[in-house]
Amino acid sequence: MLRARPSSTSRAQTRRGDQQQVRGPVPAWVLALVPAAFLLVFFAWPVANILARGASTDGLVLLARPQTWRIVEFTIVQAVLSTVLTVLVAMPGAYVLNRYAIRGRRVLIALVTVPFVLPTVVVGLAFRALLPADWIGSLAVILLAHVFFNYAVVVRIVGGLWGQLDPRYMQAARSLGATPWQGFRTVTWPLLRPAVLAAAALVFLFTFTSFGVVLVLGGPTTTTLEVEIFLRTAELLDLPGAAVLAVLQMLMLAVVLLVAARLQAGTSVAQRLRVPSARSLTRPRTPGQRALLGTVLGSILVLLVLPLAALVARSVRVRDGWGLTYWRALGSIDAGTTRFAPPLDSIRVSLQYAVVTAALAVLVGGLAACAVAYAGRAGRVLDAAVMLPLGTSAVTVGFGLLIAFARAPLDLRGTWVMVPLAHTLVAVPLVLRAVLPVLRSIDPRLRQVAATLGARPVRAWASVDLPLLRRALVVGAGFAFAVSMGEFGATAFLARSDTPTLPVQVVRLLSRPGEIPYGAAMALATVLMVVTAGAVLGAEALQGRGQAGR
């Protein structure tokens, strides 16, 4: 049987039946070394440590209790519902914000990313302030809060790809007689599906392991697996039970991720990628387009802006009227005690962690994306492995890190690096999900052209694929930054410095009675919102500049 081989030095594509496997400039396993090592050392080893502590059959008794399975059932149900709801609600937003030329588009995109960052306790209180009391504790509120948090995930991941789809495909379909809906269903949707699946998988992951939201807004019948694991580990020190539940959670998520990864790889189609220029954005002209724009803006206003506005309003609503008392208190509350942390210091610390996290996450996540894209079926193992930290209880990871790196020469506990490491673990999956669909959509022939023009394989990749990836990398970096700014669970656990990060400080303020700490917490939460929005806006601006042909 005759078979053609790709040129080993120019790494062109192989044809195997109907499936094309694009190869990278460097063997996939080389690309996978750094991400795999990172995961092994900072995730697998710590988790293994904590599971080992719980290794005994005592924990299995938990599996016999019906309560455990009720919790599992609820966890799955609310995650599925949250995912479906978020995707449905956010898809129009993804479209409008990435295809319409509207004034302040970039600001809007930054705005919808802010909720993603906020500490869950803060959001919980904001929702409680807005909604009638009997809503609290119901499934509906939890779903609403999940949509609030994850709107940005869909808008950015799906919207990112949508903004780069060649509009001529739709035009071709329309010219062949398809209605807009038919055109969407038969032309746009197949091309968009990988991104939608990626975003859905991520939203499912987040909502499945949702902890803070459920804790704050949930009620008697609404507990998730994550909360249970937290209680067993952090409060009851029932490590065997926690270990059993943690493994159960990981297995369930692993199955879901596997399915999602297969669906994604099979539907990715190489199509000509266009760098979005001003010309590919349309101005909404028809009544239908205007109505869509209005609906999206309205839903963003109600769903996202209103709770945030409530936060800001709370921070300036003093006992009688309005005032800046709480803002001024920020600089003086607890001023004489060891608990005092100047807000500016907290901002600085949070930013430092965020920058380090973003850089690390882009490096590890970018390499992982390339390894997954160029490795074919074997790449799915790495894909799932990268996502695992998101599906593992933060407490498990946090505790694991503590005991794994407890002895010299690897005693990292006193160092500042632990917190960014924990943040990176949850940021890398986001980078991967943002970069991978774009990577898979790049026409491999472009690199062939570069080769014929004399570029060596690595140079060809760096000068052709990498610039096309830049936007996705910046999106990933933005998400990593945002996640780091708002991360609370692992940080509160691992942080060793005297200066707490912003979210930690917000929560500490909330744990005290009295109106001043409460108002100050709202003020600090506002600061957190503003800083994040500014950073995300900056990322948008940075990746917008330097695009040829604008």
Binding site: V216, M250, A329, T337, L402, E515
Partner: protein
């Protein structure tokens, strides 16, 4: 199209790899002594540390609510030459659990924040190096009794407080209703739908209230009490913040329930943390029946390299400057008898004459079972 044979799902490979690592870690962990440290060949139980030191730095591990005035701490540092690095990370349970997990290779030198619900767990794990300071003689006898005997002075009581039901007086005055005065009152129809409590599984405040009910009604009667509470419309929040700031009518702005499980020190805290002009009296008061005594302890961590300096710090926590600072810094009562209290405390902090309590060893042994049973009764 060629059919592709599916090999074992790659993700299960990844998870299997994880389990293999767990086995490896298991054998590694069993090699290292994760249990009790050997008694060091060092100072006796009561040996006081020297008056001054070569400069040293010690790390204090504490929960998030720990605070001391900088001036007070600075005076200590100047006097002894010890620099104190305060590291807070989580609530009391989390701090203790972290210490238990890292026993033998502790993250710090001194641990503050173990309370009576966690005491046995901590002591059994052997994370402390016992020390009986001279100043212990001035501590309230009922508190000292907790650390003698089997505890062997592993820790020293530093402060105490009470978890009680807080009452919104304004609400009751407006409705013309007499507030409840006993635990049993809370189950009466007059107070239906007015109480909010915290989940004992997720909140130490909630746990304290549960323990109070067990102490009052006994191990066979407490479940009936909670069934009556549930029938009377009790609301359960997952944490103190949600209960006090969210549902308590005197706490946040939207609260509708005038009875909440909180601290005896919440009313004076309300005044201290109010914006100017500060109110002359708090809007809430404390139900003196059914309070549960919470005691907090400090201990020198076993395995520390700075045992002497750590002991000096423990002495400092029992000294008057620190004890007098406690009420306004942490809103707790000092454990040393005769410590002067600030006016807002003497005026508005209620001290129940008889708080409920349970033996720490019993708490540690039965807590999980009690919480499970509570969940069955209240949350099903």
């Amino acid at each position: 199209m060629r059919r592709v044979v599916v090999q074992s799902p790659p993700v299960l490979v990844a998870v299997a790899g994880l389990c293999a690592l767990a086995l490896a870690a298991c054998s590694a962990a069993s090699g290292s002594g994760a249990g009790t440290p050997s008694p060091s060949a060092d100072p006796s139980l009561t040996a006081a540390p020297p008056a001054s030191f070569a400069p040293a730095t010690i790390t204090l591990l504490a929960h998030d609510s720990f605070a001391v005035s900088k001036a007070v701490l600075a005076a200590f540092e100047a006097r002894t030459g010890i620099t104190v690095n305060v590291v807070t990370g989580g609530d009391a349970g989390q701090v203790v659990n972290k210490a238990v997990l890292t026993a033998g290779a502790p993250e710090g030198d001194v641990l503050f924040g173990v309370d009576n619900t966690l005491l046995s767990r901590a002591v059994d794990a052997g994370i402390f190096a016992p020390y009986k300071p001279a100043a212990l003689a001035q501590v309230r006898p009922d508190l000292t009794a907790l650390v003698s005997g089997s505890v062997g002075y592993a820790v020293v009581p530093v402060d105490y407080g009470d978890v009680c039901v807080n009452i919104d007086d304004r609400w009751f005055a407006a409705k013309g209703v007499t507030p409840p005065s006993t635990l049993e009152d809370l189950t009466k129809p007059a107070y239906k739908g007015l109480l909010v409590v915290e989940n004992p599984a997720t909140s130490s405040t909630g746990l304290a209230f549960l323990l109070a009910s067990i102490a009052r009604y006994g191990t066979s009667g407490w479940q009936g009490y909670w069934a009556r509470l549930k029938a009377n419309g009790v609301k359960v929040d997952d944490g103190w913040t949600q209960a006090y700031e969210g549902d308590f009518s005197d706490g946040g702005k939207n609260g509708r329930r005038p009875l909440v499980v909180s601290y005896a020190s919440s009313p004076p805290a309300e005044i201290v943390y109010a914006s100017d002009p500060k109110p002359t009296h708090p809007n809430s008061s404390v139900m003196l029946d059914g309070c549960f005594r919470q005691v907090e302890f400090v201990g020198v961590l076993a395995g520390t390299a700075h045992e002497q300096a750590a002991r000096a710090f423990v002495d400092f926590m029992l000294s008057q400057p620190f004890q007098a600072d406690e009420p306004l810094s942490m809103f707790v009562d000092p454990s040393v008898v005769g410590t002067p209290l600030p006016p807002v405390f003497t005026a508005w902090a209620a001290t129940p004459t008889r708080s409920l309590s349970l033996p720490p060893a019993q708490i540690t042994a039965d807590r999980a079972a009690w919480v499970d049973a509570w969940t069955q009764v209240v949350q099903s």
